[in-house]
Symmetry: C2
Subunit: 276 residues, 2 copies
């Protein structure tokens, strides 16, 4: 039986492309928010959920980090890396010289600003609630128009593709994580993601935690801070480190870190992504 | 002569409220982007520029961080902290029971989701390119409608305020920084902001830098990472530390950090914000 995988819908988003990259035989179930994806996995409606966690240009997807910190008991079971490319979609037969209006989410419009200024200096930009909503608005618009959306949306909505790779930054990839009730068994080339904070407000306490990693020569792949949402200047720190939480040295380090911190949560251990 | 201060316009944004908090006698000059605010100060069109850098719920304003890292020679001369409150604005005389449509930027709609679900479960949410554009769309809409925007927009556009403080998270503040050609002279209660990266991709090198701070017992107020925009997994680190770059100890530490890093940039030293 194919796995049931929840993702941030609707169909046609980069999240759906990530599910296809991870398991193209899975049954893909779209949900309207990150927290709904998590709830679907927690309740058994889906076996796994896939959410974006980091983009090479924009940085962290803070909604995902905040959900892992505050709201969900799910573990990270895997990671994958998807190249991101924006497309200009039109109704079948529309030519570029006719286009009067371009629909997209404000963030996608911003990502393609240089392309739009050069190629469509006179077109009107219209905000939509998502890139997929933009395709629907384009299809129902009576003036000649276009939408900026992922390539997958062209397949689903049967549109023409007028231009591809139109984002200003060409090397653009997004890292997704696979959420599940359990994380991954050790494979020998793993990463562990965790977060912690301190009851005292000196962020300098962070140094004590990093000392534990340095003592055992464990590599820190990523460090990030998020607001506690209580007071400005109080942070939760998120680390990705090399190794699996069941490895003897990592287990010892995690125990020592937990002893120095107030909030402490291991999001999971999982194999480092290998390009297919 | 009043100072000329550039900010992210149009008039009616939280950025304009921040300028009023900083200097209510200044001549306020709106610009359409963070980079335009910086360009206005660099070219002398404005004496100073004010941009948001961090919110207590959302975290860092990454556009501002990336501009400081990559694009602007300007220094941080001051910081200030503004309470953030969203308002529901309507045309004069509109009552809440009539409202069919609510306009705002997708982020503001998301920030007020619980309020909207409870009080306007049947209203249609319509995306706008900014909160101020939402007010303009509301004013020209023929159906009874409302817009979510800062309180300042009600003053400027002469609307009624139906509800205030409608964001889901009540304790919400944004930290702004004042950009100028020079930073601030030492006052005795200062902070210094800087960034650096390593030519090697082991983020573990960060430990060496933090060791310099720990050795001299200098407090780290904030640590943040941003993508280099070249490869996923390569980061630029941003630190806020206590002390002024002209203090002897801080000057020594900065020299030592510069010797260990490839990219190295001090954004400036400035007085820690004191509530007025």
């Amino acid at each position: 039986m194919p796995a049931k995988i929840a993702y941030l819908g609707p169909a046609g988003t980069f999240s759906e492309e990530a599910v296809l990259l991870y398991d193209n035989t899975a049954q893909r179930i779209p949900f309207p928010s990150f927290s709904a994806v998590a709830a679907a996995v927690e309740s058994g409606m889906a076996d796994e959920g896939i959410v974006a966690i980091e983009n090479s240009i924009e940085g962290s997807v803070t909604d995902t980090l905040d959900m892992l910190i505050h709201d969900s008991p799910l573990r990270i079971k895997n990671e994958l890396i998807l190249p991101i490319s924006q497309y200009l979609l039109v109704k079948k037969g529309t030519s570029s010289s006719e286009i009067k209006i371009i629909f997209s989410h404000p963030q996608a419009l911003a990502q393609c600003r240089r392309f739009l200024e050069r190629c469509f200096p006179k077109a009107q930009m219209v905000a939509a609630l998502s890139t997929v909503a933009a395709v629907e608005e384009m299809l129902s618009c009576t003036s000649p128009s276009a939408a900026i959306a992922p390539g997958r949306a062209a397949v689903i909505y049967g549109t023409d593709i007028l231009a591809s790779g139109i984002q200003d930054q060409k090397s653009n990839v997004t890292r997704f994580v696979v959420l599940s009730v359990k994380d991954h068994a050790p494979t020998g080339h793993d990463k562990t993601s965790l977060c912690f904070s301190f009851s005292d407000d000196r962020a300098g306490l962070l140094f004590g935690v990093l000392t534990e990693l340095a003592k055992y020569n464990v590599n820190l792949c990523k460090i990030e801070s998020r607001p506690t949402k209580e007071n400005l200047g109080r942070y939760i720190f998120l680390l990705d480190i090399d190794g699996h939480r069941e490895d003897a040295i990592i287990a010892e380090i995690l125990t020592r870190i937990e002893a120095q911190t107030s909030l402490f949560k291991v999001f999971g251990s999982y194999p480092r992504y290998q390009q297919k």
